[in-house]
Amino acid sequence: MYFKVLLNKIFGYITIEVEGYFIERFMNLCNQRKIFLWNLKRIHSTIMNVNIGINDFKKLKQIAKKTKCRVKIKKKRGLPFLLQRYKKRKIFFALFLLILISIVVLSNFIWNIEIIGNEQIPSEEISQILEKSNFKVGRCKIGINTKEVINQIRLERDDIAWAGIEIRGTNATVKIVEADLKPELISEEEYCNLVATKDGIITKITAQNGTPVVEEGEVVKKGSVLVGGWLEGKYTGTRYVHANGEVQAKVWYSEKVQIPLKQMKKEKTGNEENKYSVKVNNFEINLAKRVSKFKKYDTIESTKKLKLFSDFYLPIEIHKTNFQEYQEKEIVYTLQEAENIGIQEAKQKLDEKVPNKDMISDEKIYKEQTSEYVEIEVVYEVLENIATKEKIIF
């Protein structure tokens, strides 16, 4: 029953007003002809409101004549009436269709190419290769052979270990894994020396092959030979070999930091200003003046790509410029504070430099102070293997 009402609501129904003396007869006749009526309301002794489906309404004419009732349409509801209302708006529908079609068509193109994973190789070079193999912004998605493009990339560049192309909606992501540049391997048959990579004092030499040239405790400079690639025998004379071994040496890493006692420090006032601009391809439209109203400010720029649905990226970007006001404040450090800050800074910088922190054997801090600043030098003494192989060139 309820289903019938629902169906009628979709396919259209009307509320009519039946006026006459034989309304009961009218209802019974409707019943006999299997006309579905609902929401019958007797308003007056001679007037009744009835809901009826539009298809049944045509049959009503006969019944109304028979029972001498007058039928008036009060309300029209449902989809057919709604559509009829929009029949006059042909342009609206045409544009609606056009938009639908254009969305479907445009979603078959690539509007964005993102290159990720590259650290050393500039993105432009990769996009040039992509363009060469006809993989560029504005290309139809259908008929792209990603494998071919990947092969093209791998062929042109040696320093790319792996490349993958993922097309999601209108967004293509080119993932790249850079190959580490291989250290020059010297084959076992070739002759080589062991050479120092850094300055330092030698603490231990273990030569598996070759003749040690330096002694423990000796100061070596970068590039000097540590283990020679030759052996001297009593009977055989000088014979060249592939030197091999490990040379441990004390190496120093130092970092100098100057900390002025008087410093200007930025302090945010909390005032912010946002400015937007729209960027279509490379054409930028500013929606506001670019200059900020603040005297001193930081500028933070961010862009957001517009997208439809979840993955249909449009070639339109919204560029947001955020200005944050700050004030400069003078801070005067005491000597102790300045030293602490300096040591911390220097150590932080050193930590990035030193490859193996476990091998730090000693740590020295030198201080020097003037009326304006404190100079701090932190020196780490690290035990390291400094030997690398170098081919002997005759």
């Binding site: 029953m1 006999q32 579905f36 019958l40």
Partner: protein, 97 residues
Amino acid sequence: MAKPKKKAPSKVNKLLDIPQEVSTNIPKITIIGFEQMLIENYKSILEYQEFYIRISTYIGILNINGYELNLREMTTDDLIITGKIDAIDFEPIVDEQ
């Protein structure tokens, strides 16, 4: 109305325990709360006013008194009446044999 006029269920229907409102023409009246009423197997509406509805069934006449009575849905078999129902009474047809 293609329904055969049966007043009592046949033996087969009794045996199979088929509901009476299906196997015969006896009306089934369901009252939900005080404001809704469902009548199945009715014949026709004799009178419909806001305060009084008179419905004829195969076994007699059903009178409903109340206020603001509306017929919410009306099909050939079922009738849903909503409104404040005050009283219901029956006028059974007496078999003259």
